[in-house]
Every structure is written in C-alpha cells, then in structure tokens.
Symmetry: C2
C-alpha cells in the first residue's frame, strides 16, 4: 500500500492514467506475440503436415492485428505525453526503459504497412514448410522460390525506411538493436585475425585428439533419458518447461513459466542431442528469467539475439564442454553407454568434445570453426540482400566458400545451404551467434571472478549459483538496455572478441599443446 501511495504522490493522475492505458495496450500486443510464438512452436513440433496452409493465415492475422494495435496513432500520442515525465526517471528503471524501447520499436514498426507485416509472416510459415521438404529431399529448387519471395519482401520492407549506411543495417538491427553492419564487420575482422592462426596451428596437431568413440550406435531412447536427467540437474522444471524432438532445434516460450525447448537425436553421433539440448536450455533459462513485471511489455521481449545466444552458448560450451561439468556427469554417461564409453577415460572424452575440426554442419561445429560458418552466412546474406548474388547462384557460392574457409567439400544441399531454416524468417540473425560467442566469454570472465568456487559447485552438480548470477545480472534486465549498454553495465566494457579469443587460446592451446 505504501508504494502505491508514494507513487500517487509524485505521479500526476493524468500521467498515471496515460501510463496505465499504454501498459494495457502493450500487454495485449505482448500476448499476441506470445501467441504467435506458440503457433510457431506448434507448427514445428506437433502440427500435422497439412495444417500449414491454415496456420499461415492464422499467424498472418495475429501479426497484422499486433501490428495494427502497436502502430495505432494513440500509442504515439501516449508516448508523446509520457516521455517528458520519463525523462526525469532513472534511465534503467522499468518505466523509462519500457517507454524508450517502445518508442524505438514504434518508430520502426509504424513505417511498415500492416499488410506487408502480415505477408512477411505468412510467407515465413509457407517457406518453413517448403524448407522442411527441400531439406528432406536435398533439393534447393523446392526452396528457391520461397527464398526469392523472402528477399523481395525484405526489399519492400527496407524501402519503408530512410536509407541507412548499409542496406543490411535495417535487417540486422531487428535482431540486434544498436548494431550496424560496419560494427559487426569490425568485430568479426578482429575475431578472424585471432581465429585463423589458432585454427591453422591446431591443424598441425590434429593427432592430439581422438574422437572416434563419439561416433557409433547410441540408442535414441537412452540418449533422451540422459538428456532429460542432465537438463533436470541444470535447472529444467517439468512444471514450467517442455522438451520436444524436432528437425531443427529451437527454444521459445509462451511465458516465463511455460518455456519450450527442443533437441534432435542422432543415433550415430552422441554429442548432437546433448549439446543441442544444453544450448536450447540456455535460451530457455533466459526466457524463464524475464521478470514478471516486464513480461507483458516490450522490455520483456528479449530482442538482442546476441545476448540470447550468449546464454545458449554459455551453457552449451563454457559450462557443457568444461572439465567440471564432466567431472559430475561423465560417470552417468558411461553408465548409460557402457559399451561405447566404459573404457574411454574422462580426459579423452573432454578432449574429444572439444576437438577442432572443420565440418559441414554449423550446429555441430566446434567452438573455433563455428564462427567461420557464421562469417560465411553473414557475407552471403549481405550479398543476397544487395543483389550481388542471385538466389539460384547461392548453393554454388555456399559450396565455394565452404571450400575456401573450411576446406570442406559439400556433398549435397541438405548438408549445405539447406541445413538451417533461418532464411525462412529473415536475414540478419546469423551474425548474432558469433556475437553471442563473444559475449558469453565476456560474461564468463566476470562470472569466474564473482563466483570463485563455481567449478566446485558445477562438479557437485550445483548450478544454482550460476543460475542466480545470470538471473541477477543478465535476465533481470529484460531488454531494458541494448546489448552494448548491458555489457557495459555487467562486465564494464563494450562488445569485444578478445575475451573469447583468450578463452579459446587457453583451452585449445592446452588440449593441442600449442
């Protein structure tokens, strides 16, 4: 009661009324976004194949209505009325942040016609169905018209705005507000400068690591039980989470207490399901950490995919590929697969899951070469969007770049250009994976300094301190701050590839005896 009275004393009634009216509108819009996410989850996990046509209509309608509600002239008027009041409030407070994020998105979204927003949504749904079939048949021609349509829609989207320095900027900032193509290129160049010699040095010591025992025959149901038991240990809650099996793993949420993660099982390759599940767990934990008071606001929509990926990559790699983690779980793993791993020492396993070797599939790539998969996609996306590359030249360009960057021959499009579904939904997502890698190492440096006994806790299977740190320092922010602002707040510096390079050099240098 005191809080309300205190607030009433300093907030003029007209402001309070306007804020409540805006909050009511934003809550409805947030509901529609969550509904759209759930429709997408349903489509990718449980929907019968022939449901896709109606689903495209449904998602387009939800998108159109959300867009109309958000771009209503009243939203702009309410922002105008509230911003003078908010200017005196703390920058990182809930109210000022919600208004700032709402203004940023409002100014972008109001320029896009509702029909275009709906068409982009419907096209994404159809493209995803086509991608599933194209990938299964390894036939790029099934996907090509959808990719061409997606590009055409992005050009119509870009044409809604004033020109930016780079035509790709507008797409990128949808996934990483505040970052430009030039910003990303600069950090990627710095990263590459450190990565390329590291990978080259490792390639001269490949016999330091054997990993044949990760390939073989691993019963899928046993894998699933193992994944479930490890997820339970790290923080999966059955009353608030789901785990499902899909073609291309992803995480989403209907709310902070309805988090849905997915994985896929390869009968012949053990790491895929396990590290995929840890990756999606990291995403899920971020969604589960959205503070309730931000949940139905734009500041509860986690728009920095760099930060989002930092959470997934942190759990997948910095935790999941670390020695303390396997001190806890390797015995369990051996017990599940005694024939395959009973005689493999833990240290050999640790080295195997950290082996650096150029490979075909991004989501299964090691921590070092992973980023070359991203650079490849970042470059191809820019070339597609600027028109330097035609869609029908894409498979060829993909394969040529795989040869040049990773020395890999692509045997078919399913394992090449069709391996990822992201282009069904847009362009600009991929670079955030490598941003996430960098951010995860920046966070990890700070976490290790704040939690000096973290390794011991992980070894005991106690992940509560790490979860608490992430919640208090990262998740609690929602998307009140941009990724760069959040980094400055949390680790005291802006985005940098150096901690990630130092982490890789130390870890891989030790394994490969560099």
């Amino acid at each position: 009661m005191r809080t309300v009275a205190a607030a009433a004393a300093i907030v003029p009634a007209a402001v309070e009324e306007a804020y409540e009216e805006l909050a009511r509108r934003l809550a409805e819009i947030a509901d529609l976004e969550k509904v759209s996410a759930l429709l997408g989850w349903d489509q990718q996990t449980v929907m019968p194949a022939l449901g896709a046509g109606a689903r495209a209509h449904q998602r387009a309608t939800i998108t159109r209505l959300g867009h109309q509600l958000f771009t209503a002239v009243e939203v702009g008027q309410l922002l105008d009325r509230l911003e003078p009041w908010a200017a005196a409030l703390p920058y990182d407070g809930d109210e000022a942040s919600i208004l700032r994020v709402t203004r940023r998105e409002y100014e972008k979204e109001r320029r896009v016609p509702a029909d275009l927003a709906a068409e982009m949504s419907a096209a994404a749904t159809s493209a995803h169905e086509a991608w599933v079939q194209a990938r299964a048949a390894s036939d790029f021609t099934l996907f090509r018209p959808h990719l061409e349509h997606a590009l055409e829609l992005r050009h119509r989207y870009i044409a809604c705005f004033e020109p930016r320095e780079h035509v790709y900027d507008l797409l990128l900032e949808d996934y990483e507000p505040g970052m430009t193509t030039a910003d990303v290129t600069a950090v990627f160049d710095e990263l590459k400068a450190g990565l390329v010699p590291l990978i080259a040095a490792i390639s001269e010591h490949t016999d330091a690591v054997r990993a044949g025992f990760l390939h073989g025959s691993f019963d899928v149901e046993r894998q699933r039980q193992l994944v479930v038991s490890i997820l339970d240990a790290v923080g999966f809650r059955p009353d608030a989470w789901r785990l499902d099996t899909v073609v291309h793993p992803f995480a989403t949420s209907s709310s902070a207490t309805d988090v849905r993660i997915t994985t896929r099982y390869h009968e012949d390759y053990l790491p895929a399901a396990l590290f995929g599940a840890l990756h999606e767990f990291g995403h899920g934990l971020y969604e589960a950490g959205i503070p309730e008071r931000l949940e139905r606001t734009p500041a509860g929509r986690l728009v920095s995919l760099g930060l989002h990926e930092s959470q997934s990559r942190l759990w997948e790699n910095l935790v999941g590929r670390g020695r303390p983690f396997w001190r806890r779980f390797y015995g369990d793993l051996q017990a599940v697969f005694p024939e395959q791993l009973g005689s493999v020492e833990r240290e050999l396993f640790y080295r195997a899951i950290n082996r650096v070797q150029p490979s075909l599939i991004r989501v299964e790539a090691d921590e070092a070469t992973y980023n070359l998969h991203i650079v490849l996609r970042f470059e191809l996306e820019q070339e597609l969007v600027t028109g330097r590359l035609a869609v029908d030249e894409l498979p060829e360009a993909w394969n040529a770049r795989m040869r040049s960057y990773l020395g890999i021959e692509v045997p078919d499009d399913a394992q090449g250009v069709l391996q990822d579904p992201h282009w069904c939904f847009g362009f600009g997502y991929f670079p955030t994976y490598t941003l996430g890698n960098m951010i995860s190492a920046q966070l990890w440096t700070r976490i290790r300094s704040d939690l000096p006994t973290l390794d011991e806790a992980v070894e005991r299977g106690d992940f509560a301190p790490l979860r608490a740190w992430l919640r208090a320092n990262v998740h609690e922010l929602g998307s009140k701050l941009t990724m760069q602002e959040a980094l400055e707040r949390i680790v005291g510096e802006r985005l940098s590839p150096q901690p990630y390079l130092r982490y890789l050099e130390a870890k891989l240098g030790e394994i490969y005896g560099l």
Copy 2:
C-alpha cells in the same frame, strides 16, 4: 474464369466490394477463433502446468480482439448493405447463409461488452486449471469459487439481453441456435417416457449380459496401438490429424486439415479408450468435412452441438457398438489381448459392450442410461442459473439425483460432480449430448435406407461409403442451416426422440430378450 465473369455480370460492383470486405473481416475473426481453440488444445494436452496464468491472459486477449472485430459498427453496416441483395439468393446458398448466420451472431455478440467476453474467457482458463486439481484431489471446494464466478459472469451476460421466456434460453442457444429450454424439455420428456420403462424392463433381465471380461488388466501401450489401428481404418489421416492422451477427452481443429482428437486409457477397463476415441473421431470427421469455401466464415463454425454430438455418438454407438463393426475388428482385438479375450466369443463381447447398467461416469455410460446423466445435468444447470440451487449445495444435489435417477451412490466428488469440465466454459452444453443421440438415430435411419449394403461395407472395414454420405449430407452444410432446418433437409422431419427409442428398443430388446 466463367464463374467469375458470370458473377460479375449479375452482382453490382458495390455489392461485390462490400461482400469482399465483410469476408475479409470474417476471415480474420475465424482465424482468431481457431487460434483460441488451439490455445485451448495446447493447454489441455501439452502445456506445462505453470503456463496457465499467462495462457488465461492470451486467450482473453484473443477473445477480446475477436469480439471487437466482430462487433465493429462496420460489420453491421456491411450486413445492412448486403442483406437486400442476399434476400433474392437461395436460402441455403453460401452467400445468403453466411450473411444470415453472421447477422444472428452479430445481433447477439454486439450486446456483450468486450471486457465481459474477455473476462469470461480468462475465467474459463483459470477454472479449467482449478478443475484439474479439484478432480485430482476430489475436492469440490477447490472448484467452488470458480463455479460461482462462472455463474456470476453468466448473469452479467444474460443481463445484456432482453429477457427470454426462460433465463437459461440465452445460454442454451449459444450451443444450439434456435432451440429453447421449453423445446428441449418437451423432447426430453418424450424421451424419458420411453426410456424409463425400457430401463426398468432391462433391470429385470440383467443376467442376460455378462461383462466382467471388460474389466481386468489391459496394457495401455497395446490399447493405444489398437486405438490407432482402428482409427486408421475408419478414416484418421496422420498428415491431417493428431491423437493425444488427456484427462478429459475432447476434439478440436485448427483447420479442416489439422484435426486434433484425444482419448484416455484405463488400464483396468478396456472400453473407455476405444469408444472415447471413436466418439472424438466422429467430432473430428465433422470438423474435417467443413467445405474449404466456408472455412474462414461463420458458416464454417459448427455451432449446433446437437449436430456435432450426433456425429460423435453415431461413430461411437451406431457404428462402434454394432455387430458389423466387431465382425471386422474383434479378431484384431482378441489378437492384442489374447489372455483376456481369447476365449470370449464375439457375440458375448457384443452384448457386453451394449450392457445397460446404471453407472457413475457419463462418458462411460451405456446408450440408455446415458441420457439420465444428461437430464440430471440439464436440470441442475437450470437450477444453478435461476438461483434455485446454490453452488455449495451442488454436490449434495448431484448425489441425491444420482440416487434417485440411477439408483447409484456417489463415493466421491471426483466421480460425481467433478467428473466433467464443461462448467468451466459455460452452461447449456450438456443437453446437446442427448439431442445428439436423438439426431444420430434419425440420421442412421436415413443412412441405412440410402446405403442398403452398409453393414457389408463395415464388415469389410470399408468406411468410405459412410464417410461420403456424412460429408455430402451433413458436413457439407457447415452451419448454414440450424439443426432443425438441417434435419428437415436431411431426414425430412424435425428433431424427434422416436427413432432413437425405436433403435434402443430393437437393439436392447433383442439382447435382453424383452
């Protein structure tokens, strides 16, 4: 091309434009209804328990937006503009029917404030969560406040309208447009007049049927496989349907090619899962039969629950409890449960699944006493709504009436007043089950006359002729006609309990030697 040209020649451009504008609006509203149905499916089948709070917000928002879109003044103006044109069109044509159904629902819905519609939706979601817990704990007090709130909301709903003859009329017609409390009471009285002596006569010959072998130990996974194989045979299509396991079975659809049915398995009682699945299959097939051209219109929303239940009861009982059906499937069933049924003759099994015996649970009741479960609910609903019965007196009243109508003692509320979830969502649904029973027999009489070799087809496992008849005569109509209009069209008479009584008398009379 010819059709378009012909239409353009006779339809003035202004009318065509108005019709298209109305159709566009109605399609968006239909999408929202399907989305809401999917959110409900998700909640009842796969949602983590803690997702309920946010889900209530989401469904309320979808309901509020759908309500706002439908009751927009423009919808009324478009109807006004189009109705003079439609007056000259065939009554049962798509356009005239869509306009007529839209007008009927518009006149009802526009009187209800959007906030009330949203509150009813949110309350239903919360009530359902409470019901699941109350039923699991067999504790009515957990459900009572939700039921009281639901009643209070219905009184606010009823107050939006001019008084009807009976306060319950307004609720009933939401589930069965065109029917009044007096209409239902009249046919129920006529039905009871035939049923009560039939059940009494049977009660003197109970030793004619043994059914102990239906109770025992039936492996759930084997039951599931059997259910799947039988559903495949009758018309379940894996690319357009789903089957899931739930606490309280239901059917819904996201579209005609995304039909979702459910069942539940009792390890100790064989018929529950199988007949439940056939029941929901009948509902699903009706949804799958909605013509594509009606799908995103109000005439594609199957609002007569009497007709809907006629489809489920037809497959569950007239098909599934018939001799021809088991001539085809009994060998399969014996092969799945050889220990339990290997030595039970088919005729004994046929009699057992048709045994008449008063019992606790509506969905497992036989075809005769089932209707007394409905009469009980129909009466209690009216008493709750008129206030003659207070919510906290309900369990007592339920148990007293179970004693009086069925001679049954209710051991606990889970098997009594808490067995069904319907009151989470409203009042007026239950009577449509018995209307469905009557209608199913009226349809069956006509089907048997139109398809003289139906029994032979069913015996062969060929359900295509029956599906085709239902599609052409019932499903194809969508909800263009009211239930009474549809019956006059299909069977040449209005709703009547007589065919159902004749069917029961013949079937049960033979089994019990009356």
